[in-house]
Amino acid sequence: MPSEVLQAPLVLEYPFTRSTGAVIGAFLTGLREGVICGVRRADGTVLCPPLEYDPLTADPLTEMVEVGQSGEVLTWAWNGEPRPMQPFDRPFAWALIRLDGADTSMLHAVFAGGPADMSTGMRVRAVWRDEREGHIADIAGFEPDPAGHR
């Protein structure tokens, strides 16, 4: 029997197109227009990214509000070996970012030189793509903004 082991590339791909609904649709519309929206809960706190229903009361949420384009890193993890289709082709950080005006955090990429440039509590600001289509990737990522303040 030949000793060479057979191998072949195998790609499974599901090209889903998802209907957004009004809340997520407004969030994505905002991204295309270069603004970031959250949704306000009855107690006045703001969820960003927005949810369609209140996570505590299950009430529908309908009041979209604009939040800031800078914020604070709540926690992060260094991604030393980015995989295809990730936000950046060089090492970067995944971070939970609480944008100014929001009370919850968004998962996104932070483009920093290395883990030494990352810290919990650091300020970051959004970097927009030039070509935007209404997708979370319209925000290319976030970059450190040491001078930034609320």
């Binding site: 029997m1 030949p2 082991v5 057979l6 191998q7 072949a8 590339p9 195998l10 790609v11 499974l12 791909e13 599901y14 090209p15 889903f16 197109t17 998802r18 209907s19 957004t20 609904g21 009004a22 809340v23 997520i24 649709g25 407004a26 994505l28 519309t29 905002g30 295309r32 227009e33 270069g34 603004v35 929206c37 369609e52 229903y53 529908p60 949420l61 309908t62 009041e63 979209m64 509000v65 604009e66 295809p84 289709m85 209404g134 997708h135």
Partner: protein
């Protein structure tokens, strides 16, 4: 709303207030979210043997040592008995259509599959189970259960260790197989509980 469980919630009904920067813009209503899993596939011993035989235009199955049934593609074990298969069986590249489906909707990134086309579960002569193939060189509307077919292979100089060597299955013109008795046809049947 509590009175009418079928009424759409406000979040879906579009009764949502948005900031001015968004209000005037054409609303986004859908988003493409592909899921992609990229593997390097290593077939293992039984399927490697099957794929190497494919490069010689041969189709290999494996026989179950307990029931005598022949499975293709071979996996090294009998899916019915759960035991290691007893031997390799060379099958004919002819068989019959056991069931089929006509697809009239194109699939993204498969421009080679031009609707309407017919995919079928084909039982090879000597096999106890069917496997998937395209029925070609006949109008899909004329395909029928029991129709006899033969493999259409790629040209010799294009053969690889791949099931893609079989371009499809075309009618032989023989009388249709009568699918009336699985036992007579030597077909695998689920074990009775």
């Amino acid at each position: 709303m509590a009175d009418d469980p079928l009424a759409p919630p406000a979040a879906l009904a579009g009764d949502v207030t948005v900031p001015e920067a968004v209000a005037g813009a054409e609303p986004v209503q859908s988003v493409c979210t592909p899921i992609r899993l990229s593997y390097t596939y290593t077939p293992g011993r039984a399927l490697s043997r099957y794929l190497r035989a494919m490069a010689d235009r041969r189709i290999l199955g494996e026989r179950c040592g307990e029931t005598g049934q022949v499975f293709v593609p071979p996996r090294g074990v009998s899916p019915l008995a759960g035991t290691t298969t007893a031997g390799v069986v060379e099958l004919a590249d002819t068989g019959y259509v056991d069931s089929f489906n006509i697809t009239r909707v194109p699939i993204e990134r498969r421009p080679d599959l031009k609707p309407p086309y017919c995919s079928a579960w084909i039982v090879l002569d000597g096999a106890s189970v069917g496997f998937m193939g395209l029925v070609i060189n006949i109008a899909p509307e004329e395909v029928r259960i029991g129709m006899r077919v033969r493999a259409v292979w790629k040209p010799d100089d294009e053969l690889e260790t791949s099931a893609a060597n079989i371009l499809g299955w075309e009618p032989t013109g023989e009388p249709d197989e009568v699918i009336d008795d699985y036992e007579r046809l030597g077909r695998a049947q689920p074990a009775q509980p």
